[in-house]
Structures are given as C-alpha cells and as structure tokens.
Subunit: 139 residues, 3 copies
Amino acid sequence: MKFKTHYLVFNTKKRIDFINITREVRTVIQESQVREGLCLVNAMHISASVFINDNETGLHYDFQKWLEKLAPHNPIEQYRHNDTGEDNADAHLKRQIMGREVIIAITNGNLDFGPWEQVFYGEFDGQRSKKVLIKVIGD
Amino acid sequence: MKFKTHYLVFNTKKRIDFINITREVRTVIQESQVREGLCLVNAMHISASVFINDNETGLHYDFQKWLEKLAPHNPIEQYRHNDTGEDNADAHLKRQIMGREVIIAITNGNLDFGPWEQVFYGEFDGQRSKKVLIKVIGD
Amino acid sequence: MKFKTHYLVFNTKKRIDFINITREVRTVIQESQVREGLCLVNAMHISASVFINDNETGLHYDFQKWLEKLAPHNPIEQYRHNDTGEDNADAHLKRQIMGREVIIAITNGNLDFGPWEQVFYGEFDGQRSKKVLIKVIGD
C-alpha cells in the first residue's frame, strides 16, 4: 500500500476567492505512484472549502452572489460568533454549503474525472495564510 | 488490496430527477469481493449529485421545491453563467447543496448502512447522457 | 492493511443539538494502530449530520438560527414528507446542508487536522437513539 501527503498554502488578496488546484492535485497523484486508490483533498481551516465544479468565471461570480444571499457577511452584529471579536461567522456558514473536502478516485494512475470536473479551493475569509491537505492512498 | 471501478450512465426524461442506485452500489461491492473497505460513489458531471437520504416520494418532492426556492431556475438571466449560452447555472448551485459524492463503509462484505440510508443519483440538468463513478477499495 | 469499525450512540435531550466527538474519533484511530490512512465518520441516520467546524458556542447558535431560516420546522404542513405522519422533513433538509460524513486523513498515527478543526455530530431530530459510524483503513 502506498501513501503520499502534501500541503498547499494560500494567502489570497481578496476575502473571498476561488482558486483552481486541479494541476497541483494531479501532480501529487503522479508523484505518489498510486495506480488505483483514493485521493482526499480538504481545507484545513474552517472558513474555507474544497469543492469540484466548473472552471467558468461567470459561475464563480454566481456562487459568490448566491452565498452572500444565503449567508450575508453584513451586518456582522447578526451573528453571535462575531461577539468573540471575529467578523467571519458568515465564512463558517458559506463553507458548509460548499463543503470541506472532496474524494477523488484514482484509476490507471490518474484522476478519474468527468469532462468538466475541476478542483477548487474556496476561500471565504482570506488575506492570511491557510492550508489545504492532499492525501493519496492506494496501490 | 482489492479494487473495483464501475460506471453508471443516466439519461433522465425530466430536467430534475432522483434515482435510487442502492442496488447497483450493493452489486458492485459484492462483485469486488472486498470484505472491509470504503466505497466512493460520485457524480462525474457538475450539475448532478450523489447523496444519501430517505426513499420517500413526499420528501423528494420537498427537496425539489426547497432547492427551487434556494436556487431558482428562472429567470435564467439572473446568472452570469447563463451568458455563456447555458441555462443550467441553478443546477450547479443545487448540486453544491446536495453534494457531489458519498463514501460508504464496507463491513463484512456489505454496505454498513443505517436502517433508512439509501443512495440516490440527483439530476438537476438532465435529458442527456451523464455518468456516476463507483470505486471500491479494501481487502 | 488494517481496519477498525466503531459505532457511537446518541440520544439527545433536545431536538437539535451539536456534540463534539473529536476525542472519540481520536481514540478509535489510536486503537486501530493505523499510521497512514483515512478515517470515515458518518451519521447512520438521515436526519443527522457529521461535520467539521469550530468548537464555539456562538457559532453553534448561529448555525441553528441559520438552518431554521433556510429550512424551517414550522409550519410542518408545508412539507409533503410530513403527510406520512412524520414531523421531521426539515431535519432531512438541514442534514443536506451540514453533510452526512467527513473523511479525515491519518498521518503518523494521528488525525491530520488544522488548528481549529473539530468533529461534530449534528442532530436535527433527536430525543431517540441514533448511531454514528467510524471506519479506519490504512497501514
């Protein structure tokens, strides 16, 4: 059984941002030499997501507008979490809708992906250093 | 270590539909001869979901009505993704709420399920050919 | 390849409740003697969640208020699922937002967690006996 663990670090310029990490995931899988197995990719911070969807700018705009409607940042006083001195309660909520992690099948040494699947890091409280974990297991 | 990879294909008559795939997942697990392991089931298209919930018609109606309220299809002009010529931006949003994938424990050669757990394919932009991946790993 | 399967049972006093199960997950991982692998933690009931987020009381209050806004319990007549005699349709919806399961990487024999990650059982239709599954696989 083979394993590989790798960490990515992000420090986004914007508070909310989506970053395509498909190439990084593919590289870690190739380096693992796993031919058949599973690859976990998860945000290590609780105000961020890893998700799989379309690499299309208009859709990413739609995601941001939609998440802001479902879990608005302002007014920050509406959230009891923000009584602790934080202003990121909405980021914890947004992350639940977009998800913490994805599991990707590895078949014949590559991501077993549909035609449009791409992996994204979803940042909801950025402008500071945050990590993503990639873990490969298999044979 | 044993592996098995299997693909299901769906072409739903309706734009939105939920299809119980528990039997298909159980068959793949039995064919894999894995006694202890994990089974990944994921939509390979980004406007569809795989999720676990109740096999109850009323609830499926409630899911559809609720998703339409949270991420309405119309007016399609409200989404920038639809400027590309698509009309399925809402399907990408609905899929985030219902999820891309499930991971199921395999214990003693069978799905380790609670009393009401059933696996569903959730289609949000159907009427064309789309795939689901089932990947079993274990011993 | 090593495996371990463990079940937790909950019977919450309140209909909706969040319970920190990080210690229980850590114990099962240590008992499995897996050094490198994956740990699945999932609700076995379809009106409950397992999720990873912050161990902060104010945030848990925010989650409950937010979920009640997105998928209100009352009036129970708004849901066709409740025509079956149930009153928990909203619990099935809330569980989709918070998720059924998490997958946790195991590195060097321990949970490979970020600084604030904690595992929670999320109950949305409690006051009766319900189970969580913990499954560890690896080497």
